[in-house]
Each structure stands twice: as C-alpha cells, then as structure tokens.
C-alpha cells in the first residue's frame, strides 16, 4: 500500500547483525529516507535467535512488520532462514549466508541440524547464497563477514546509489575502512 520497503535480518547472537543493521540504517538516512529499525535482543546473548527489521520510505509508521511483508530476508545462518521465511512477501528475495550454528537441542543430541535447507528454499523463493565467512577469510579478516552480507543486501535491494564509503568511514575504525570497503564490494558481487 505504500512505498515503504522492509528488510528482515536474522541470525544468532554474536554474528554482527546489530552492526550490519546500523550500517544499513545510516546509509538509508543519509539517502534521505525516513527509517525505523527494530531489534529483539532480550536473551540473544545467551545463544538465542536475533532478528532486526529495517524499514525505509518517505514516511514509516510501524517499527515492525508482520507475516508476508518483508521485501528481503537476509539470513546470517542457514537454519534461521526457514524460521523467518513466513515474514517474506511471496515474491520477496532471500539472501543466505551458508553457515551452520547448531542450537542447544542439536548439541544435546535431541535433534539433528536440518539437511537440505538451501534446496528447499530454492524451490520456493528468489535465492542468493554464499559463504561470507570463507569470503571474509580470503579478504584477510573473518570479522568482515557481516559487511559482506550487507554488500549483498545493498545490491539485492538496488541501493547502490548510496555513498556506502562514507557510511563505512563513519561506522568503523580508520584502520578497518579499506578492508570493509572491499568486503562490501565482495558482497555486492555475490548478487546477480
């Protein structure tokens, strides 16, 4: 009904999702959008799921979305994708960082890490997958994995016109600017 776009980021505590959302929000604000960002982090530090939602447009009301509303679901962890999929618009895009973090029931041998998640997703949605951790290691710093994911998100959402260099300079320490800019580009290259 409106021009508002919805981004849903999902993953596990400690994966840098909050920072990724921050970088994204700053870029969108600089581009002149009204932006709202919502995060659920109550018990996330204790190994639980983390999600953030970033909404942008001319005027944003609700800070959160409901089911079937996300234009893109960006998942930092393979299995988390399935859990949040129902928040995606049926014609929305999905970006998955292929990385498995077993949850407590799996570690306790009460369940097995689900197999065939990517294949199942491929049948249903417009999917992009890559291994951000391995790409980050190639760049020389595993901690840039979340910025690689942001790069993919930027490309998938058509937000290339925003001055991301400026945003990165504002959000990371000077010595990490160059590597994060490279990481952003690597992420963009993952999306066709």
């Amino acid at each position: 009904m409106s021009d508002v776009k919805n981004i849903l980021l999902a993953g596990v505590g400690g994966q840098g999702i909050i920072l990724a959302s921050k970088i994204l929000s700053i870029g969108l604000i600089q581009a002149g959008y009204d932006v709202k960002m919502s995060e659920v982090h109550g018990m996330a530090q204790r190994g639980g799921s983390v999600t953030t939602q970033v909404r942008y447009g001319k005027k944003v009301y609700s800070p959160i979305i409901g089911k079937g509303q996300a234009d893109i679901l960006v998942s930092f962890e393979t299995m988390e994708t399935g859990k949040w999929l129902e928040f995606l618009k049926p014609d929305g895009k999905v970006v998955v960082n292929e990385f498995e973090i077993p949850s407590a029931p799996i570690l306790a041998c009460d369940a097995e890490y689900p197999q065939g998640v990517i294949e199942a997703l491929n049948e249903k949605v417009d999917l992009t997958t890559f291994k951000a951790g391995e790409l980050a290691l190639e760049l020389g710093n595993i901690r840039t994995a979340n910025v690689i994911i942001v790069g993919a998100l930027v490309k998938a959402m058509g937000l290339m016109d925003i001055d991301w260099e400026l945003v990165i300079k504002e959000t990371v320490k000077p010595q990490f600017v160059d590597i994060n800019l490279k990481a952003l580009q690597v992420g963009m290259d993952q999306v066709k």
Binding site: D34, K36, G42, R46, P63, G68, Q69, E86, A104, V125
Partner: protein, 592 residues
Amino acid sequence: MKKFMTGNEAVARGAFEAGVTYAAAYPGTPSTEILENMVQYKDDLLAEWAPNEKVAMEMAIGASVAGTRTLAAMKHVGVNVAADPLFTWGYTGVTGGFVLVSADDPGCHSSQNEQDNRYYAKFSKIVCIEPSDSQECLDFVKDAYEISEKYDVPVLFRMTTRTCHSKGLVELNDRQEVPMVPYVKKAEKYVASPATARVLHPVVEDKLKQLEKYSNETHLNRVEMFDTKIGIVTSGVAYEYAKEVFGETASYLKVGFSYPMPMDKIREFAGKVDKLIVVEELEPFMEEQMKAAGIECVGKDLIPNIGELNPDIVAKALLGEERQTVSIADDKKVMRPPTLCTGCPHRGFFYALSKKRNVMVTGDIGCYTLGAAAPLNSIDSVICMGGSISMAHGAAQAFQKNNVDQKIVSVIGDSTFFHTGVNSLMTVAYNNSNTVHCILDNRITGMTGHQENPGTGFKLQGETAREIDIPKLVEAIGIDHCVTVDPLDLKAVDKALEDAFAFEGPSVIITRWPCALKKFSEADKKEFDLSFRQYKVDEDKCRGCKVCIKTGCPSLSFNGETKKAKIDPNTCIGCSVCSQSCPFDAIGKVVK
C-alpha cells in the same frame, strides 16, 4: 540536530533536556538502557542504580521532595515492587516534576508476564502518558515534567518493548535548566498519616477532574481526520500499526495522555465517524472506560488482548486480510532456545545440583533461570524477583508441619539477592527453617547486560564503591552455616550441598566466580585465575557415553557417526566442567 535513537535513548535525552538532575532505576528489560544512557549527561545530572525498584522509586521521590526534577525507570513487573510508595505518592503529589517510566513487555520477550501497567496510573490516581515512537519519547517526557509540576502529580510514562527498543529519527534540543524549588517543610502534604491521607484523598479526586479537563485540551491527544467511515481511538505503538494498516482510509484520535482519558474529545470524535474502533495493545484499558462512559465502540472482541500486536495482526483482525506467505517444511527448522553461555559459572553449580535426587528447587530471576531448561533441569519453580528464598522457607515449613521428608534448595543470583532475596533470608534465619540457599555470585547483574550492583564495587557512572560482603551479611542475619565455593569445582559444590543437607537448620552456599562475558575488573583479575585455558576431547579415550553433553555447554557437540564428543576450539574458554564430568578421563587441558 536529528539523531537515530531508540525510545530508551530518547527518554534519557528528553529527561536531560527537561532539566532533570537525579534519576534512579533497577535494571530490567526493556527499560535498562534508559539509565545507562543518562550517564552521558553526568556533568548535569546524577544517575544511580538502586538494589530494587521500590528503593529506586523512593530515591526518586526523595529527590522530588527535595525540589528537583527526577526520573525513576523500571520494567513493568518492577512497578509491582515499587507499588507501595507509588500509591501514596499519588496522594501527596510532587515538588520537583516526577516521571516514573514503566517499560511493559507485550509478548513476554524477556518477562514472566505481560501485565498492562496503564492500570497502575488509574489505580494510583496519577497521569498516564504513552509515546508512540522515539520522537514522542523525547517530546512527551518534557511535557510530562510540565504536567507533573503544574498539576502536582506524578506521571507514569508507559512504554513497551517496541517503543523502548526500536529506533527512529529524533530532533534534539538544548537542555533547559530548571532551578530547584527551595525546600520548605510541608508535613500536611508529605507526612502520609491517616489524618493527612483523609484530607489528601478528596484533593486527589479533584485533581483528576482538572486533569480530565486538561486531557481533553492537550496536544498529546490529537485528532487526525481523513475518511470518516471508520474512526480509530489508539495509543502507544498500536497507533503506528493502525496508521500502517488504514492510512488515510480512517480517521484517528491518537491518545498520548491516556489517563485521565479525554472522554469529551472521544465523544466528539465518535460523533464524526460511522464506526468507532479502539486499537490498543494488551488490555481493553481505554475501551472499558469508553464503554462505561456510554460510548459505543468495538475493540477486544476483534483484537487479541494476548501477546504483542503488529500491523499484520491488526489487518487480520479488523479487515479480515490474510497475507500470502511462503514456507518450507517444519523439519528444516530446529528451535534455538537461549542457553547458559560457554564457560558460564552457573553450569558447574547446576550440573552438581542436577545429580541430587528428591530435592525441591525454588529458583529466581536471572540468567540462572536457564538452569531450569534441559539438559540441566535443575529448577522447579520461578515466580518473581527474590521469591526463591522465601518460597523455599514456606515449602519447608509446610512439609515439616505435614511430616513430609523433603530436601529444599533455593537458587538466587547476587543482584537478585540484593534486590529482595536478603529480606527473605531474614525470615529463613529468624524462623529457622531446614533449608539450603544458594547465592550464585557471578560478580555482576548478568541477564540485563552487565549492570553494577551493591556487590560489584562500582556504581553506574563508573565510580568505585565499597562492596557489600555477602558472607558477612549472611552471618549478621543469623545464619551460622555458610560456605563459599568455586562453582566450576564440581566436587566442592557437591560437598557443600551434602554438608548443607546434613546440617540441621538453615544454611547458605555462596558460589563465587565472574560471569564469562564480564569485562573483568582489576579485583577480578587478582582474585580469580582468568588465564586463557582450553580443553580437548581425546578421541581414543572417548567412549561416546554423552555424559559431558548433559552439561549443556554450547561448545560441546556429539558426532553421531564417529560417536565421539567434540569441543569447539573457537569458543571453549576452559571452564573444565565437561572434563570433570567425564567418567573416562577423556577430556584434557590443551597444553600449548
């Protein structure tokens, strides 16, 4: 200047701009960051943690009586603890403007219930203000101080998880200095004896009438006229959801000042629309009052009073719109419940406790509540902050009176012990029950994200303080059997439990080891061996018995094919609990 802020950051900024010079709180999700964000304004104000919400409320009341603008902040259930002073504070009124922030948690993201604290404003006869977004958090706090002083009334500033934790753009302004009101003794106002209270009650009722008049006039209650087929009365973040769903296809009465309600304004609005709908989160607080005032409307017969709302739920309830979704099979999803962290000192304690049979365990609120979850399964009940110790006492007395032989253990964290556990321990000592109380001292308030407490040696603004010595406090209360153990030493915990069970009368076990995620203080580094350690499974010795897996450590996994346990070298910090649990000595320290 505009800044991208959470509601909590904006409330702190608003209080700063309003000239507040004193603030007190006890941490609790989703309210915690309000006080944490006030620290940046410490040149102009003092922000302090209290050991519990009642104390925070009273600290703030004292500052208001002294004549300055003050703020108290707490989560919704914290207001239950602070309710005693709140209700009388409603009678006496204020000197310096007073705002109590109540951060409610619809959906129980991190709470034990989802009570709607707007009822507290009505119950204690004070003002309720509800912001809808970050900008309103800042603006309305400033309005709240003006209203509080003009009408001599405390203001309950009701936020929810979404207004607290979502970010939006906020326009900032400069601080306005507000001079203190010179102190004058006013016994007829502030000595709430029965004689005074009887005089104050009609004064309060009169104030509420004036406030209702104000409620009909204030800009905090705003009418937005668009299409008039549907009129929506809404408050808080529910306004954003309604606006999202209906846009300009409905008209709105956005209630920012929700107690006393703007009933004349609502009646006038109702007259201009064909159908009146109340969109509010949780309870029918406004709807009930509107119906009692004879205003025809619909609300909770359509919109759930359970859980958190979102635009989708509102659209479904009011328009019957069901959005299309996609999904994959359920077998591609496995739950991800929160767990005790790798290296958490609580794990050792709970693992040892889980080996004890026929023990009733009362628990408390903090990270260690996770000791109730599989595979540790060590806690039987959790009701409220500080409740573990008194519940254990009552249960012990009941069992004894009815000739039932039952061992009883309570489990409580350091911050929660200071919160209200200490009162409970007094009844345990004085009434001498045969109970075992375990104070899990991890040197910080863990669950809410590492706030200082009276046992840590630091204050909110970073200054050092004299720690409360828990063993001495326990002794002073009158408990003779008290030991302190390292919770990561399974044999020591087991012995402490056995000794306590054998002791006739109340006993206390204090476990002392810092939270694995804590930023260690110099004192921590001196007291504890925090040097880097790591453990590794010797696959030749591992027989695949999975005993170590029962410790529930996130760094441990079991390979179903090789039938061997594995420790993740990227996350293990060498707490050694799995190593001690192993019956075959297959987990050893990594020697570098």
